[in-house]
Symmetry: C2
Subunit: 332 residues, 2 copies
């Protein structure tokens, strides 16, 4: 049986959930893809584990210091890298080093963190193409919500005229709490932080950067655009005052933080900001931590998708969907 070696870089909640789900699906991979999938290496920022024969779940709680970094992953002999760490879209680090190194040596990469894709997307796409390697990004592009899948697969052949998405769970939760339950931003934020789905420093979400990152990834990886953060007008949710909320209520509309792409003559116009929707619009009913996307094409009209999955499991499942697509494509 063909053996496929997987390494996971970034071993926080998502990385661990991915490891655990992957190990639980080994029998499936054997049966459906004729492949013995082995988790040969995992690492966080300063510690990791390696076993050429494959790591088992019970060993993953105790990482060994020093086993980390792109060289460690490369030396593991992994055929596929799953990059699940944090990464900063202003620098791409630390994910970028792992992904660059994997693709440069012809390994397939499944990327969950957004920063490297936003910072160096063009370079990474070129690396993957030159090496004939897969660069899969479902986990970074709103995870369980089918976004890249719609663009690449379900709407294949159609011209995308417009795309808009509720792409950030934290801000959707906060806006919902503020507008439906009438609690203030600070209180809603404390609630979200206590629930573990808002960061200690929430500005990446609340100022719209996370939504903008996902939007850029969809534009550049899904639509062949070549946009950077400088091309996106980004507004967050801090400008939402009680007065605006009252006005929306009076109008009978619901506010969402939305990333939008509109096809123009030469490419796409991109923006992130508050949009309002009447109650008849499905976007008005995307509650709490859920996400949604609406894509308008020439031949298929409007397609809306809404996802409600529990994290980090749903993101892990999105990354492992990418893995199965690679397994199927490499079956030959």
């Amino acid at each position: 049986m063909r053996v496929l070696r997987v390494a996971i870089a970034g071993f926080g909640g998502v990385g661990r959930a991915t490891a655990s789900l992957l190990l639980s699906r080994r029998e499936r991979y054997r049966r459906l893809h004729g492949t013995d999938v082995r988790l040969v290496a995992v690492c966080g920022s300063s510690a990791g584990l390696f076993d050429a024969e494959g790591l088992e779940a019970d060993r993953l709680d105790l990482l060994e210091a020093g086993l980390s970094g792109a060289d460690f992953i490369n030396a593991s002999g992994a055929d596929i890298l799953i990059e699940a760490g944090p990464s900063d879209f202003r620098t791409g680090a630390p994910g970028l080093a792992y992904i660059r190194s994997a693709l440069s040596s012809g390994r397939d990469a499944i990327v969950i963190s957004k920063g490297a894709l936003v910072h160096s997307g063009r370079e990474l796409r070129a690396l993957a193409e030159n090496a004939d390697a897969f660069l899969k990004i479902s986990g970074a592009a709103a995870a369980a919500l089918p976004t890249i899948d719609l663009l690449d697969h379900s709407l294949l052949g159609c011209t995308v005229l417009k795309l808009e998405g509720i792409l950030n769970a934290t801000t959707n939760y906060l806006l919902d709490a503020m507008t439906v339950r009438g609690i203030g931003f600070e209180e809603a934020l404390r609630e979200a932080q206590a629930g573990g789905f808002a960061e200690a420093d929430p500005r990446n979400d609340t100022e719209g950067w996370d939504t903008a990152c996902k939007l850029l990834i969809l534009a550049d990886f899904g639509l062949g655009a070549d946009l950077t953060m400088d091309d996106v007008a980004v507004e967050g949710i801090r400008s939402v005052t009680e007065k605006r909320i009252e006005a929306w209520r009076a109008e009978g509309v619901v506010a969402r933080l939305v990333g939008s792409l509109t096809r123009t003559d030469g490419g796409f116009h991109a923006s992130v900001g508050i949009r309002t929707y009447p109650l008849a619009d499905p976007f008005a009913h995307v509650r709490g931590k859920n996400k949604a996307i609406r894509i308008t094409t020439d031949a298929m009209g409007e397609t809306v998708a809404i996802a409600a999955g529990a994290e980090p499991l749903a993101t892990a499942a999105a990354a492992l969907k990418d893995l199965e697509h690679i397994l199927a494509a490499r079956r030959g």
Copy 2:
């Protein structure tokens, strides 16, 4: 450049829209798939056209009598059959003969009509597998709504626990007209017939059979179930009385005709009937001729998709998405 010959059997509105869209995308197929796609044959129930060099749009208005049937299509040398005719789920005819003949001789088949898939799905899947041919069915499984795509691609790796869908545009339009605008069944039906989206004999839609056909196709082709129409409890919309409508209104819920699959110990339980949804549910806002599906999985939670496309263009685009998936897979 590789040449790929396509034949279209069934040349009503959908078949013609498919031909026209295919011809308009030839440059795309050359550029993206390195393939010269030629429409070599089309036929309706008693007339057709053939040209080994490829038919152009301006010739498609004048079919020649006698050029029809599975033998005619086979003799055209087509590599791929697109089956776009009507077909009866009680007999599979007339689509079944075309599909069976194509798959038996190792040609790929893209099927838009549901009847043959419901009547002889198991046989057709076996034929395709034995011939290593593709049997693609997006056009038959709610067309522009991603259904099979979600099961086969976007949710790959997850276990589907439950699926429910608003799968029939005609009944959704009728129910909407009856419950929102308060007009009676007969009047709503006349309106839909005048608009061209209800058949002269509407019972296939209104009695739930069309929904049941799509549900069976999703169960058998998308989930590996092995159900037949005998396994589905089918209820239509004729039982909707003014009194029920008033009760729903009083309750603040919205009624939809829904096909449902629920995983059981040994397989799936399937049914078609009226379900009601609160206004917070996206299904309550699937209006008029739109369609929707909700799939619940173990690892990705709930995924909802809603589609609003203009027919017959959206169905043609769904079939040609299948064509591109075949082009990509056969690139080799």
